[in-house]
Structures are given as C-alpha cells and as structure tokens.
Symmetry: C2
Subunit: 429 residues, 2 copies
Amino acid sequence: MSETPRRPPLMPLDDALARLLAAAAPLGRTEIVDTFDADGRVLAQDLVSALHVPPQDNSSMDGYAVRAADVRAAGVELPVTQRIAAGHAGGPLAPGSAARIFTGAPMPAGADAVVMQEDTQALDDGARVRLNVVPTPGQWVRAAGEDVTRGAAVLQKGERLAPASIGLAAGIGMASLPVAARPRVALFSTGDELVMPGAVPPEAMQPGAIYNSNRFFLRALLHRLGCAVSDLGIVPDDRDATLQALRQAADGHDLILTSGGVSVGEEDHIKPAVEQLGALDLWQIAMKPGKPFAYGSIAAPSSRRDAPNVDAPPSTVCHFMGLPGNPVSSYVTFLLLVRPFLLRLQGARDVALPTLAMRADFTLAKADKRREFLRARRNAQGGLELFGNQSSGVLTSAHWADGLIDLPAGQTIAAGDMVRFIPVRELLA
Amino acid sequence: MSETPRRPPLMPLDDALARLLAAAAPLGRTEIVDTFDADGRVLAQDLVSALHVPPQDNSSMDGYAVRAADVRAAGVELPVTQRIAAGHAGGPLAPGSAARIFTGAPMPAGADAVVMQEDTQALDDGARVRLNVVPTPGQWVRAAGEDVTRGAAVLQKGERLAPASIGLAAGIGMASLPVAARPRVALFSTGDELVMPGAVPPEAMQPGAIYNSNRFFLRALLHRLGCAVSDLGIVPDDRDATLQALRQAADGHDLILTSGGVSVGEEDHIKPAVEQLGALDLWQIAMKPGKPFAYGSIAAPSSRRDAPNVDAPPSTVCHFMGLPGNPVSSYVTFLLLVRPFLLRLQGARDVALPTLAMRADFTLAKADKRREFLRARRNAQGGLELFGNQSSGVLTSAHWADGLIDLPAGQTIAAGDMVRFIPVRELLA
C-alpha cells in the first residue's frame, strides 16, 4: 500500500446515510407471529378493523343506565328493571325505569346516560333507585367506535410495534400479525489486540491486549432492533481468517457487521478480503467520533435456503458494514447509520433519528472541522450537560449519556444556546 | 354491598407511589448471567475494574510513533526502526527514530506522539519516513486509563444495564455479571366481556363482548422490564374462579398483576377474593385516566422452591396489583405505578419517571379536578400536540403518543405554555 500523502475528501454524514438507505432495499420476507410475540417487530401489512371498538355504546362507570329525560331533578326515584353486567346484553329500557349497569356493559336500547353508583341510593333491596344528580345525555357513556371505526386501518404497514400497538391489534381481534422477518446479521470483531472477556484474567493480559467490548454492545443493539444475530466472535488480523469468516457470514445472512479493520493502515485485512468476494467502499465520513466506515456487499449464492414460513424470495446479496474499532465511534456510527439501515431492511416507515431542541448548560470553546456527536445528559434544570472526556476511546461517555448533541461542523457552544439533541435512550426502545 | 352515597377521598398519585415503593422491598435474589445476556437487567453488585482501560498509552491513528522533540520542523526524515501492530508490544524507541504504528497499538517506551499516516511519506521502501507536520506531545495518543482507571467502580449496583454499559463491563474483562433475578409476575385479566383474539371472529362476537387487549400490552411491558411472566389468561367474573387463579398465582410469584375488577361495583370479585387470601386496599387515585387501583398482598407459602442459581432467601409474600380495565387507564397506571415498583423489586437505583419541560402547541380549555396524563406527541416545531380523544377507552391515543403530559389538577393549557412531558418511548427501553 502506498503511503504517499493523501487527504481523502470527507463525505458528509447525510450523504453517507442517503447512500446506505438507497442500498437498503426492504428484504420483503415476512412471517406470521403470535400477537404476544410481536413487540418490536415491523408490521408487514396494514391492519384493517372488521369491527367497531368498542362494539356498542357502553357504560364507563358502575351505576344506573337511564333515559336522561326521565331524571329532570335530583332525587328522582325509578324502578330498577334489569341488571346488565359487562359481557351481557340487556333488553330495551322502558321509559321511566333504570337499569343497574356495570363498567363496560353495553347500554340498553333507549338509555342515553349513566348515573354513577356514588350518586345514587339503592332502595327496596335494589328494586328501586334514588338518583341524586341530574344526568346529561351521553354522561358516562362510551360511544361505539370511539376508539376504532370498522374499516379503519388501525396500524399501517411499516410501523414498528410497541406495547400499545400490540394492545390495539389485539383489540380488533388479531391473534397473530404479519411482520417483517428478522434481518439475519453476522457479527464479528477484528483485531489481534482483542481478548475475549473470561479468556484471560486482567492480571495476565499481555501488553497491548484489550478486552473485546464492541461486540457486546453491538449484539445488544442488534437484538433491540429485532435482528437474528450470528456471532462469529473475534477474527484475527489475517487475510485467510478474514476471507473465511466473510465467506461463512455471507451465506444465509442479510448483513455482515464488523468492528475494527476499516482505517487506512496496511494491517487492515477487511478491505482486500471483501473486495475479493464482492465490492467495498471505504468512506471517510465528516463526523466525530466515527470517521472511518466501510460499506460493501458480497454475493450470497446459497442464501436461497430460507426458513419455511417465509413467503418472499430472499435477497441474494449480503450487505457488508465495517464500523471503526474505537468503541464510541462504533457505538455512534451504529446508531446513526446501521440502525436506520436495519429498520429499512425490515420495511420500517420511519427510520429518521428523532431530535429535540434543548438548552446547553455548558460551554464548548473549541470547534471541530467535523460534525460532532457529543455525549450529553439532561440535568434537573431541563438543560444538557456534557461528559468531560469526549475521546472516541472512552465508552464510559456513552454509558453516562442520555443522548447525543448533533453539533454542526465548525460550531462552538455557549451556555444557554439551543442545540439539537438525539435522545438515544429512546432510540434503544 | 351497600349503595349508600359515598365519595371516598381521592389519594394523591404521589402518595400512592410512595406507599407502593415503601412496600417494594428489593427481592434480593441474584443470579449470574453471561454478559451478552445482561441487557436490560439490574446490576446486583458494583463492578470494580482490575485494570486500566486502555491498559497502556496507545495510538489512536495509523501512522508513526515519534519523540516529538525529534521533529521540530515539517519535513524531518527519520529511520523506521520497528513496526508495532495492535495487540503487539514494541521495544523502546531509540532517540532520533520512528516506529511504524497502527491504531490501538501500544506506544513504545520513549515515544510521546503519533504522526498520522496521511501526514507522512514512506521512503526507501519503508526503511525511512518523512514527517510532513510537527507533532505536539501527546498527539494521537490515548492515555492509559483514560476510559477506566484500575480500582474504579465502573458500574454501580442498582444500574439498569443498557448496550453501552454491557460494552463497558466487557471492556474490564467481565464475561458474566451478577444481576437481580427476574421478578416473577403472574398476569391475568378479568371480565366476562373479554374474548381472546382468535377465539371468535369479529363477525361472530356477541353483543357486549370485546377482545382482550390489556393483557397484550401488559405482557409486553412486563417483558421490557425484565420480568418472567406467567400468563394465566382471562379469568371469569366469578368468585371461585378468581380465588383459584389467585391461589395458583400466589405460588412462586412476586407479583400478581390483573386488569379489570377494581371499580366499586358488586360485579367485581377481585376485592373479596384477595381479602380472603391476604389483604387488599382499593385506592381511588386523583389521576385521570386511571382512578381505581388496588394494592394488596397474598401469603405465598410454597414460594421457597426457587431456581437453583438463586442465592438469597425468597420473599414469602406475593404482592397484588389490580389495574383498571379501561385500556388507557391500565396502560398509564402501569407506567406510573407498576413500572417503578418492579424496578425497585429488582433493586434499581433510579425508578423515577424522567420529565422534560416542553412547549404546548395546543389549547386545553377545560380543567379537570384530577391530575391528568394527556397523550401527546412531539411535532417538527419542537412543541407538543394533543391526541383528539383523551377518553380512557381510546387505546389509539397511547399508540399515537410519544408520551404523557403531566398536568396538575385544576389547570388549563394555553398554546405556548410550558408543560411537563414524560417521554414514554424512552421509558419503554
């Protein structure tokens, strides 16, 4: 490799993201899962309700269903002609009578209001009731269809399901849901310096050796995004080992994700190995942390052997992404680039990072040429504080932070400035 | 049950939460899990690092390690006397020489700066190097211990582990972690009106019947909090069935969670059944949605049969919590009351709800006597918008919302007002 001076032009982050999303054709494989197991998955079809929710007008209180016109003054007494519990239909309510009714029970025909139990007095062992307030029509009545109207698309294709959306799907009677298949991700770390935690005790670590940490948070992040992860461990800095790992990984996976091995030095074997099997671009992205990033692809000839409940042809290309080895660089580039890519592979509608305008309660005097993603935490005063050491090697900063400040290139921060904040804890949901 | 007029005094939400947290003695059961599997769990001991991270000063770039004092002008040429790759220790650097070095490799003794490869030119087939810039001491060098110092408590007991914290634990060599055992939660819904999705098609639903939805989102929420869930399904509105479900649930669980059956009407069998087996308080909490809430406990005589890798005595009482049956009431009371309780059972340090001061971009003209939790969403202008129908039966509002506005009792909102916002999406992480 030549070592002539070169300063490759840096690629704007937005360009890198646009290129990745353009390459991220949704996999198209779907599967049917039990609604109980659908949390976090991406919906593969619109869900249209075949019924109103609630199905009928019903009482939102325990009390008495009446015709409001029958109760024009407090203290009216009415005969109680029926008793309607939740899940049981009553008969029509005769004028001048009341029905004992319980929360969730359907309103009897003719009734238009509920007087809550606390505003009544049962008389004659419950045969009659005194109504101590004057109801307004519609009072304590939940209207049929107020939550969901029959025929409405309750949840749209491309939504990422969360607990409330799962409840909504169950509420229209869906016992199972069509969701995007899990992206199959092969994960490995590269680097001769890496030692697996547990393999060598701290006191016996050789000079230059460090414990592998990236693979731990990357695997957790991948699981949180709904991926099926094949962990190929630590691959040595060696061309043959790298080629073998890539060949194995390209088979039956949608993405190979690595950390380490994408900087410009000659010790990095990822680039020639991926190029031998497919294509690779090494990008120098104008961001800090996280400058080096590799994107490419490897043909995956045997990926046609798919799971039985998959109903669309598989992709025949395996994407490749190489993250920098510095832990914070790896963590931040995952959130900013890999996460939207993996959501898009699942057909997710909304892959953009949410940002909030927040007040900086600190000063940052030194501007950087690159767009920075600063590890920051919200304080009790509603502002943001900065972690003291923003080095890309300090993973403690990512652990400490609530999120990232997205600071444009060349900009400083004065206390009181409004900045763009990416709430990372929310992204991890 | 008497139906004499009564208006029980409402309990402030903060009082209800304080009572629950006072009752939530941490379970004390811990287990050792693989670090890869520890995401979302609560750490049971401080983690103290037995080493510096990074262990030695090392290069943060591919380039050349030098003594800065040897390079006082751009264009200096030095012999390259060694080559140090990541994971390999070099020898001491002789004055007047340079070492080829790669990202992550330990600095050789004597060297105090790195010149990045792009600022150099290799000469004589790599035997010499021209340095085109003047390095400052410490340049592109990561200091030993800059992330973690030997002896530091990297992670504290009571922290809830997230991807970055798992990476941090791996980085100090922890292959497994002591975490709080999963709370064992028995879950059921009550109500004769409830039909299991899939059991009856929408067109065949009887009048008054609705699909069970609460149990779906509650189960998902419990899983997200690290609980082991025993799902007992739908229990009919019947005393014997309720007693049987409670007896079964009290055995080997830390919490019984139900939805429905806690309002004041006589159709609710939860109260007498729990009282028969233990103790129960029905609370009317001054919140909207979510007024009715039940807390109690049941003796759990046989709960001493525990999992083998559990090293502390089990609790001998099974907590009981009854949530309202209205879906939004159930969802909101879970987040505000059950979630902190379950985190505390796991010994979590931080159980308070995060809140953000945000601008309301809407008007709410009608004040409520109770403290309200309004379903709201952030808009592109950095403000909040309100879901149109805030009825406690409309689960669509919880699905649509990014979070809840915590509005004090008796207060209205004018556009532009600052309000307290609870970012629910973040809570679900």
